[in-house]
Symmetry: D2
Subunit: 392 residues, 4 copies
Amino acid sequence: MVRIAILGQGLVATHLAVGLERIKSGELEPIGVPLDRFEYEIPVGRLEIVGSFDVDPRKVGKTLYQVAQDMLGGQLPVPRSLEAVRVERGIHAGSVKGLIPGARGLDEELGMEEAVEKVADRLQHLKPDVVINVITTEKAEPFETVGSVRERVSKGLVSASQAYALAVLRYAEREARRVALVNAIPAPLANDPAIVSMYESAESLVLGDDGATGATPLTADLLEHLAERNRRVLSIAQFNIGGNLDFLALTLPEKNLMKEKTKSSVVRDILGYDVPHFIKPTGYLEPLGDKKFVAMHIAWKTFNGLEDELVVNMRINDSPALAGLLVDLARISYSLLERGYKGTVYEVNAFFMKNPGPKEASNMARITAFHNLVKLLQGLGALNTGINGGQP
Amino acid sequence: MVRIAILGQGLVATHLAVGLERIKSGELEPIGVPLDRFEYEIPVGRLEIVGSFDVDPRKVGKTLYQVAQDMLGGQLPVPRSLEAVRVERGIHAGSVKGLIPGARGLDEELGMEEAVEKVADRLQHLKPDVVINVITTEKAEPFETVGSVRERVSKGLVSASQAYALAVLRYAEREARRVALVNAIPAPLANDPAIVSMYESAESLVLGDDGATGATPLTADLLEHLAERNRRVLSIAQFNIGGNLDFLALTLPEKNLMKEKTKSSVVRDILGYDVPHFIKPTGYLEPLGDKKFVAMHIAWKTFNGLEDELVVNMRINDSPALAGLLVDLARISYSLLERGYKGTVYEVNAFFMKNPGPKEASNMARITAFHNLVKLLQGLGALNTGINGGQP
Amino acid sequence: MVRIAILGQGLVATHLAVGLERIKSGELEPIGVPLDRFEYEIPVGRLEIVGSFDVDPRKVGKTLYQVAQDMLGGQLPVPRSLEAVRVERGIHAGSVKGLIPGARGLDEELGMEEAVEKVADRLQHLKPDVVINVITTEKAEPFETVGSVRERVSKGLVSASQAYALAVLRYAEREARRVALVNAIPAPLANDPAIVSMYESAESLVLGDDGATGATPLTADLLEHLAERNRRVLSIAQFNIGGNLDFLALTLPEKNLMKEKTKSSVVRDILGYDVPHFIKPTGYLEPLGDKKFVAMHIAWKTFNGLEDELVVNMRINDSPALAGLLVDLARISYSLLERGYKGTVYEVNAFFMKNPGPKEASNMARITAFHNLVKLLQGLGALNTGINGGQP
Amino acid sequence: MVRIAILGQGLVATHLAVGLERIKSGELEPIGVPLDRFEYEIPVGRLEIVGSFDVDPRKVGKTLYQVAQDMLGGQLPVPRSLEAVRVERGIHAGSVKGLIPGARGLDEELGMEEAVEKVADRLQHLKPDVVINVITTEKAEPFETVGSVRERVSKGLVSASQAYALAVLRYAEREARRVALVNAIPAPLANDPAIVSMYESAESLVLGDDGATGATPLTADLLEHLAERNRRVLSIAQFNIGGNLDFLALTLPEKNLMKEKTKSSVVRDILGYDVPHFIKPTGYLEPLGDKKFVAMHIAWKTFNGLEDELVVNMRINDSPALAGLLVDLARISYSLLERGYKGTVYEVNAFFMKNPGPKEASNMARITAFHNLVKLLQGLGALNTGINGGQP
Ligand SMILES: NC(=O)c1ccc[n+]([C@@H]2O[C@H](COP(=O)([O-])OP(=O)(O)OC[C@H]3O[C@@H](n4cnc5c(N)ncnc54)[C@H](O)[C@@H]3O)[C@@H](O)[C@H]2O)c1
Ligand SMILES: NC(=O)c1ccc[n+]([C@@H]2O[C@H](COP(=O)([O-])OP(=O)(O)OC[C@H]3O[C@@H](n4cnc5c(N)ncnc54)[C@H](O)[C@@H]3O)[C@@H](O)[C@H]2O)c1
Ligand SMILES: NC(=O)c1ccc[n+]([C@@H]2O[C@H](COP(=O)([O-])OP(=O)(O)OC[C@H]3O[C@@H](n4cnc5c(N)ncnc54)[C@H](O)[C@@H]3O)[C@@H](O)[C@H]2O)c1
Ligand SMILES: NC(=O)c1ccc[n+]([C@@H]2O[C@H](COP(=O)([O-])OP(=O)(O)OC[C@H]3O[C@@H](n4cnc5c(N)ncnc54)[C@H](O)[C@@H]3O)[C@@H](O)[C@H]2O)c1
Ligand SMILES: [Mg+2]
Ligand SMILES: [Mg+2]
Ligand SMILES: [Mg+2]
Ligand SMILES: [Mg+2]
């Protein structure tokens, strides 16, 4: 069993929980789980969610079954087996101030230092191998140096993701075991040299940052497509609009900025030159729900100096896309821990993350990243792609 | 110098001729030439068009300058240096019957066997290293076996492309020199085992078939993008409409069928399963000219059984896109010939062609194909991608 | 009660039957029924389907409930009340030859003349006020003159729609009552002077032809939008692809041609000049089902000679759109019959039909047509649009 | 002659100036001028630009020819006849603070009261019949009551548009002549009861506000299209991005808000109910220049409760579209003044403006508005639409 603890029981986490149980019961095919078209050493059926933390008063204390019924009940069958896990109170650090009325965390009661220890206690009890961070996008300043951590914590100058990252470390140290933290949100953890080095010292792993779903990895592949033909990109416009809590959160300017950064970095990294671009989560429109609308316009110069253009429009279910990736991230983390990997692993981040850590690493075409990932996992003996060697 | 002869002085060939001269004079950057973002052993400036064949009475006998003025004069500056080459009469084999009034070939005068010899004579005079086939799309039955060739020729049962392929061979044999034929149209040459084996025997090269520009390679990359995330594609619709002679030709059902075949093969090859699809050059609309309109719809299942969809719309200059690829195909052919390659070379075809030969070979994601191509050329010492090893 | 008989119990007819019952039971709002945002003298609840004719062996003999369960059961709740009506055998006239295996009509047993009388018998029994034609698109040559009718029938040279039109007339004559035939398919009935004059003599009504849903009326409004700003339209491309039986039928060239005609007429009628265009039902793609995909490209010249362009992409449920219009067409027909209208009525056709009869009439912007329709019905006292007089 | 003075010699005004001269010289057809498909009592050739005001130091003092060369020279032929008019310094009122370095107005030298008188002096000299306001979008608080005007001016609490509106009035009073002010920007003039009543007293006209080009009138017609079929709109998203100074200005939040207001009002006015929507000028992307990119997504419920959706993408030349409308607005203003119209005229505003004055008036479908406009002008004997009475 790969034991998983969740931070932030929102849409992504709930799709993950529901989807996992439906796959286990045979009711659903593991579509959307990248490695599932090959044979992986850990089948999806061996993943198990054992705990969950949130700060929304409408969720804390409820079972995953109740939470899933509330969020997805009208749309999908929710398995009864989700009654086994109950959402606990996590660390708030102001992450949803102004967004979720009545949100409250352990830190508001106990102070930040104690709250971190309290979460570590709970993790000792739940014994996860992998912790997945899918809380609401929040602003976070990287620690940069290990030396600055203690002071920032004592002054309460940490974001929720940072506090959780430290709690996971405390848990690893106390139990003297390896743990993996998968950070699927834009807060810089795998891009924070201090965090990475602390995880390295604890023989643990931090993967991140910001799960690569939706328009960003598609843009990466489209730009790579143009770069390979040596077309000169002139401009890129990309709009995103949706009606889930995540989009609502991104209407707050500081959260939006966090997202814009991870989204924009792709352009220069792939083309090798700068291009004027407008790439942002653009707005909130409640009736769209979790199925966002994306519009993209790219113009370029072709041979003989003429101009071409491309428009992409998408309707995509935002949260299940990330949930499918998290299935693989959980089992890959497990395999890597077992083989002694620590710190962070660029080959994994490069495919799965919008802002792949470590800090100095850059984006690459996803297709290239995918082949590198497959090669790594084959080399470890974790992945069997069949006769054609993973070549599609 | 790499000496190039053209078959079919249409839009593609004319963009190639004009673009090459403009690049040489420094007036134009070699945008749209894939390898030009790296350093290639043969600079673009070393390519030269030395001859051209056509059957359109409005072109035969004119200089490339006159032809280019007629076709592109309103849109682009046409270099005077194109006065040096004059279009000669080629082999018709009925390729534009019903399309171009008054079209006539050497075969109509001399019979097919003589016509082939006559073209070989002319090639001996022009001394091309590379011959590029960009005549109008035509129906062609592959020879399949070398044994059947002579009889088919004597009965006149060959398409124009096949006749040219044989003339190029005759030229190679007579001169005892290596020649490359680049087939950018759907007629199966690099996919015809008989042709490939004859070229192999003559130490010559045939690359093809059907240049991969426009919607097809983009579709390949989009499908690869979905496949890597293990999304289950449900349906693919792709429409193409344009106003150039090529689109007009494709309103003739048998020509359309040739194109549909090379366009559709991509789906199964990349996804690994069949998907209902509609992928065709769809229509002719004169005012669009060479800037075609493409619309594409792809639907798939994502994690947790939900459905996503993607729409792509493009306005792209059809012919310059292929012209840019031909620049690289010409110089790659030259490099390969020099290093003793013969028959056909899948690594080249896989990136540049819609229906990459040899016959049994299949399509792959273009991005993968590109990396394989780069690796081959680096291995040969022909390509220098700089410090980052060709990784964008 | 307005009593309705159906010809062709396909997707459109079944959406009509299911939707009507759901509206009556209060489970569904009458969205998609144009006049329902005002007050109409006949509420939707007063419409009733009393009979249905088809030739598909999988439908004939079954109740509407069974048919609806088969077609829509997975998607919508099917009301039990539909058990009251059973599908009867109609006239085939070869309309689905090659499309529906085993299709058979009364004409194949009794000959065409007898078959027409037999259907008239059944109508005398069912006593409909309105008969709605929604059989598969079929090729039909208009009679043009009343004199030619008898001979064409005796020789069996009539299409199914024409045979039904005659059966409805026979029923009207025998009962000496007024009846309305609503022709929602492209076969020319309201555009056939012979049919219109026969209906006029029988004090009856024929409305048609080809229900205006989907891309065509939208195109009409977009073109009107451009015309009002005096922009010069340069080209129009419109693709339609779907996965229902109707799209499958349109892959047969002669059926496609019938549809193309009614779709294309809109361009000249609205702009007042000809524009190169490509407007066709383009293909069949089974997984799209009844939710078709439409792509449209329109380019025009604006002030100062510059060029603009517009792309429209739609996913629309094809059949419910027509079903919603049929609700209004049925009750408008009834109101018009009551007030002595006969022959055909352009003001109604102009809004509801792609090819509005009578023959010599042309298309107009739908918004204009709508205002004319509203004015007509207000004048009759049938429609009450509230204080603002129907002005939105 | 209809004498025209310009406020704000930007892209719109320059397209107007260049286009008018090109039409007069016969080099250009009056495409994009709505009434030009009919016969209007004042031909386009009778319009003449006699003066122009700006505050940009790169424009003030230059001839229209020089300004047009700088702005459009690379794209269009600029007529020499534009040398006859020179740009003069206008009133700044801070309208481009932070946008145009070095911008300076008469008010900065003379104070606001004097500056207004100075502009009135200049207008007495230029003798325009119509003054057109196309300065940069600016924030403006309506006066609401005539009583508040004097105080606001003396305190300098007026926007540039308001100051110009007062200068035009002073000119009208001093000369005791009727003048028309056409306000094509979002600042509320025709929607300000105080301004309208002052113009009424001066027997003059103010038309406005905010010229209806681009996505807004198209959205109006699309919504009317849906409303007429009684489809229930669920959500509307509309993105606009461009690279001209106007888009740059709209990245300043307070200017953006002015635009969003006039853009959003359309939804409720046309549908008759509120719908969640996101309609905003979204961003600035320099390489797009004046040819903006628009993306729109509309979802609705159709008959039987199913959901449809529509996506519109456009590339449109922003400024020429408004310039074409201004041609008609100028000559209509003249005709109305001649016939004694004063204050504002809703029938004109309703078609040409995004936020049609007077204040209490609402939006309507443009097609309806167009027919009302045509009727008004026919009634006045100003417009002759030919035999078919303006019905397309
Ligand atoms: N495709 C995707 O959906 C996608 C892609 C990349 C990244 N992400 C990121 O994943 C995260 C989750 O997305 P979502 O759609 O599930 O959002 P969501 O808003 O539905 O869920 C977030 C959950 O986190 C909880 N939360 C907030 N602060 C918390 C805290 N301090 N401690 C514990 N719980 C907390 C909230 O109460 C909520 O239940 C977001 O940050 C988003 O940016 C999502
Ligand atoms: N992006 C692209 O344009 C693209 C991509 C893939 C393949 N192709 C293929 O390239 C070819 C050329 O495209 P194009 O746009 O230049 O078309 P084109 O119609 O403009 O040019 C074809 C030219 O070939 C000439 N020709 C026809 N039959 C001939 C013969 N038997 N001998 C000599 N000349 C002959 C014609 O007279 C014409 O000048 C087409 O077959 C097309 O399918 C083009
Ligand atoms: N939005 C729309 O769906 C739309 C718009 C305009 C016109 N139409 C027309 O409406 C018609 C029905 O569309 P649909 O989607 O329901 O198609 P469908 O194929 O689902 O239904 C047609 C039905 O007619 C039956 N039929 C065929 N020939 C018959 C005959 N001779 N007698 C009796 N029944 C016969 C078939 O068995 C089938 O049940 C088509 O002709 C279509 O072109 C549809
Ligand atoms: N389709 C359209 O372009 C469109 C549609 C509706 C409304 N508008 C409005 O029309 C106006 C003009 O658009 P544009 O594209 O020409 O913009 P622009 O920025 O190119 O031109 C504005 C001009 O006004 C000048 N200006 C600014 N403040 C001034 C002042 N106080 N006095 C005199 N001149 C001043 C600027 O220097 C500039 O030359 C904008 O307000 C825009 O919102 C444009
Ligand atoms: Mg999400
Ligand atoms: Mg071409
Ligand atoms: Mg249908
Ligand atoms: Mg503008």
